[in-house]
Symmetry: C2
DNA sequence: ACAAACCTATCAACTGATAGATAGCTTAGT
DNA sequence: ACTAAGCTATCTATCAGTTGATAGGTTTGT
């Protein structure tokens, strides 16, 4: 692994724990065994480093997710695959979603970093829309968008609260609610039961 | 307003924008017109200041919410009252929920601050449980807990994402889903349709 | 010869925190 | 009524530490 990617890995741990302010060039440098001035060779400014971190995090996340419709063809539910990624963050990584944390701080984030954070959410909503479309349970596009956004918001919120309370309860209830989303929304949006 | 509460007000704006690291004693001091050393008179350490901020935020939030069952008696839905509080943060304050942000950072927060943040969430879940109980739509206690946790997670997540994307869309879809929660959960938990 | 990857040394700025002084108010003792 | 003691809220001055960033030099591989 190159020093550059070692730096990003070290930064990721810190940002997912405490946000943008929770890492310094000196810390990262000493962790990977170089000097702080050398970090500036790879990343001109702190803003650049964090922006690239968020960019690569997004790419890795989406690559790992793969193609939503492929899961359906295998008889798997892509939404369950998606929730498993968040469960992994909570139980294995024991860390926040990088962009969940950056998003919360977005009000005081450098422009490039905020831009990459937005990109993460847009891409994720898009993936979830494709997933719900592939499941072809509901018809209207607005219902699909609604489910996609609700799913993402629920997972980000549940991850944050479960991590804070040191208990998986909120997360488990949230994912149970997502499983019910398919039947739910059809009932309340438009059609009255 | 006393200097102490002015300091807390100034700190709140900054923390709700960028988290624990986004305020300094000097900034607060100069904003309220005293010197940074004097801030230590009111709050021995930064940790103490942030902990008191989170404590008072929680008290103010719950006081403002009032008694959930009282709304039911007035023919109002306390869950809608609750979601309005979050909508106010998004559209009027244009800020995060203080504890939503601190919760995201909880991995690197001083102990006292993390404790107060946990307290916020526990109290809010409790309030929502009372609210869903007062509505007596569903019966089982675990269904009520599930709805309470899901509602909170959804609102915290939706607020964060809507703020980041600079669009109310995610928030609107999330609150619509909460309105559907009553009918939803009964369908999916236990009873099969 | 050249460039990528690193170094040393240093900068100005900012951080939380402390020590010690002061002015003004309140209270208790006589 | 006067004073001594103590509290509240602020100040000046300063500390040691950290921060992101820069200029310019060195090493290493091709």
């Amino acid at each position: 692994m190159s020093k550059k990617s070692e730096l990003l890995a070290a930064a990721e741990l810190r940002v997912r724990d405490g946000g943008y302010a929770n890492f310094s060039f000196r810390e990262l440098a000493s962790e990977v065994g170089i000097k702080s001035a050398s970090v500036h060779y790879h990343f001109p400014t702190k803003e650049d480093l964090a922006a690239e971190l968020a960019y690569q995090y997004t790419e890795r996340f989406l690559t790992s997710l793969g193609d939503p419709s492929a899961y359906v063809q295998q008889g798997k539910n892509p939404i369950e695959v998606y929730t498993e990624h968040f469960r992994h963050a909570l139980l294995v990584d024991k860390q926040m979603c990088l962009c969940g944390l950056l998003g919360a701080e977005s009000g005081s984030l450098p422009e490039k970093v905020k831009h990459e954070t937005k990109r993460f959410f847009k891409r994720n909503i898009n993936w979830l829309e494709q997933a719900y479309t592939s499941l072809h349970i509901t018809n209207s596009e607005s219902e699909i968008t609604s489910k996609a956004m609700t799913t993402l918001a629920l997972l980000e919120g549940a991850l944050m609260i479960s991590k804070t309370l040191d208990s998986i309860d909120v997360f488990e209830h949230a994912t149970a609610a997502i499983k019910g989303l398919a039947e739910i929304m059809g009932e309340t949006t438009g059609r009255k039961k």
